[in-house]
Amino acid sequence: MHLIKCPWCGERAEMEFTYGGDGTLTRPADPEAASDAEWTDYVYFRDNPRGPHEELWQHASGCRRWIKVRRNTLTHEILATGPADRPLEGNAS
């Protein structure tokens, strides 16, 4: 079971969290203006990297904050965590 550091509550067991997938998505600011291709990309298409992956988790049984996690998808190492509304520190590799 992963041990995930909630930026607020500290290191907690994975069972307290729910997974929210790709953390790099940004909803087009003006959906009306977005092209269909852009929109489809936002709703459906994903990077699916082997290695560091930036993702969202919700600390559902804890503080209920959505958080960002950079996790290695080959080793499951957690490389960084932080609040969901700003970029994670460090770069993605």
Partner: protein, 418 residues
């Protein structure tokens, strides 16, 4: 190819089994092939087999990074069924089912396809409604289906807890009698032997690291054993679909997740049917060797590691014991994981990609073993004819943008939820 039969077995038995030939060759790659299939799992090998057998395209290489059949083909719970509601799924999986029914004979390799029935348990009224709807769709689509009441379920699976005060009381079930299991490794080996004997080169320990393009079309693959030219390339790498597609600059509506499965110690026959429960999140059957094989939910996050964590094992086991309290004293012998390519609608993509000469067979989520023959068959057609067969025409990449997703579960664009 030495034919396998009871006679050849007896003959070799007297000869100390010294004369059995290799089941497949281990050739070095040629500089170029008409078709290179990336991925030596069941799907890739079946594709090569049908390319040679049905379309006369034998100048084919199957390139496998590890040992053939070691991906999800070698680590799945082997359930074979075609009990789908949506028509495009139903027809594709039923094609596969028909191929299963003659596969051991076609391949001259006993894949132990055992039609012991697949029973989905209903634990609530809405679920019975949904099962009836699915069963009706199946029957109208030409597939066998029966809706069982609780007594019929109990008679069929005596160790199942059918009591009223069960946490998930059994209200009935949807049975597909023609469904069952097959011996997973034999499927890979049988197709490998069949493809090899028709001239296909199976190249193991050869990882594709890049897809070379000339303008808008593919020219071959970079591999750990050098460049291999190809007029056409078929991708059939299951959990690695996202990674390999990225080599051609493509993003896909796919996330890679781990799905775990496990086996108990073997016991004498106690379960003659494949039993699944969506509400309790588990499926279970007993192998010919006697182990109970079971699995359930995904661990739930992107990963390329073939290992999962303990809470899912706990959860799936609890589900199994809730349904089968008598199994409590059996022991877990081994648990493992496989990387599955979960799509945004839970259905596969079997299509030409936006790069000329590049074809994709992927996104099988945790249900592609049963599709192996059918998937290989339609994919071979798609590659050979440069266009999909009717059976896979709906399984495009464009369906997402068009709003024509094929979503059996209605879970929406959350891959882990399918």
């Amino acid at each position: 190819m030495t034919r396998y039969s009871i006679f050849s077995l007896v003959r070799n038995g007297f000869g100390g089994h010294r004369d059995w030939p290799e089941a497949w060759r281990s050739p070095d790659p040629k500089p170029e092939y008409d078709v290179v299939i990336i991925g030596g799992g069941g799907h890739g090998l079946a594709t090569a087999y049908y390319l040679a057998k049905e379309h006369g395209v034998a100048n084919v290489a199957v390139v496998e990074k590890d040992w053939l059949g070691g991906g999800n083909t070698g680590r799945n719970t082997t359930i074979v069924r075609s009990n789908y509601m949506i028509a495009s799924n139903a027809h594709l999986y039923e094609k596969s089912m028909k191929l299963w029914e003659g596969l051991s004979q076609d391949l001259n390799y006993n894949v132990m396809f055992s039609q012991r029935g697949v029973l989905n348990l209903a634990h609530s009224d809405p679920q019975l409604d949904a099962f009836a709807r699915r069963g009706n769709s199946m029957r109208l689509n030409g597939i066998d289906a029966e809706l069982l009441d609780r007594d019929q379920v109990e008679a069929m699976v005596p160790l199942l807890d059918c009591s009223d005060d069960a946490r998930y009381p059994v209200m009935g079930g949807l049975l597909q009698r023609r469904g069952g299991t097959a011996r997973h490794d034999a499927v890979a080996w049988g197709y490998a032997r069949g493809a090899d004997s028709r001239g296909v080169d199976i190249i193991q320990q050869c990882e594709v690291t890049g897809i070379r393009r000339d303008g808008g079309r593919v020219t071959g693959v970079e591999t750990s054993r050098g460049f291999i030219g190809a007029k056409k390339i078929g991708i059939a790498v299951a959990g690695h679909t996202g990674h390999v597609a990225a080599m051609a600059g493509l993003r896909l509506p796919i996330e890679s997740h781990v799905l775990q499965a496990m086996v108990s110690e073997p016991v004498k026959p106690v379960l003659d049917t494949v039993v699944t429960s969506g509400a309790a999140h588990c499926y279970i059957s007993q192998t010919d060797k006697g182990d109970l094989v079971f699995g359930g939910d995904l661990d739930g996050w992107n990963t390329y590691a073939q290992r999962g964590n303990f809470p899912i094992i706990e959860h799936v086991t609890a589900a199994v014991l809730t349904l089968f309290p008598a199994f409590s004293r059996l022991r877990l012998m081994r648990a493992w994981g496989g990387v599955v390519d979960m799509t945004m609608d839970g259905s596969p993509i079997i299509a030409k990609l936006p790069v000329e000469g590049l074809f994709l067979n992927g996104g099988w989520c945790y249900g592609g073993f049963k599709a192996t023959p059918g998937s290989g068959w339609v994919f071979a057609h798609t590659i050979a004819q440069n266009r999909p067969h009717d059976l896979n025409a709906a399984f495009t990449l464009e369906r997402f943008g068009q709003g024509r997703t094929i979503d059996e579960k209605g879970a929406g664009p959350v891959p882990g939820a399918h």
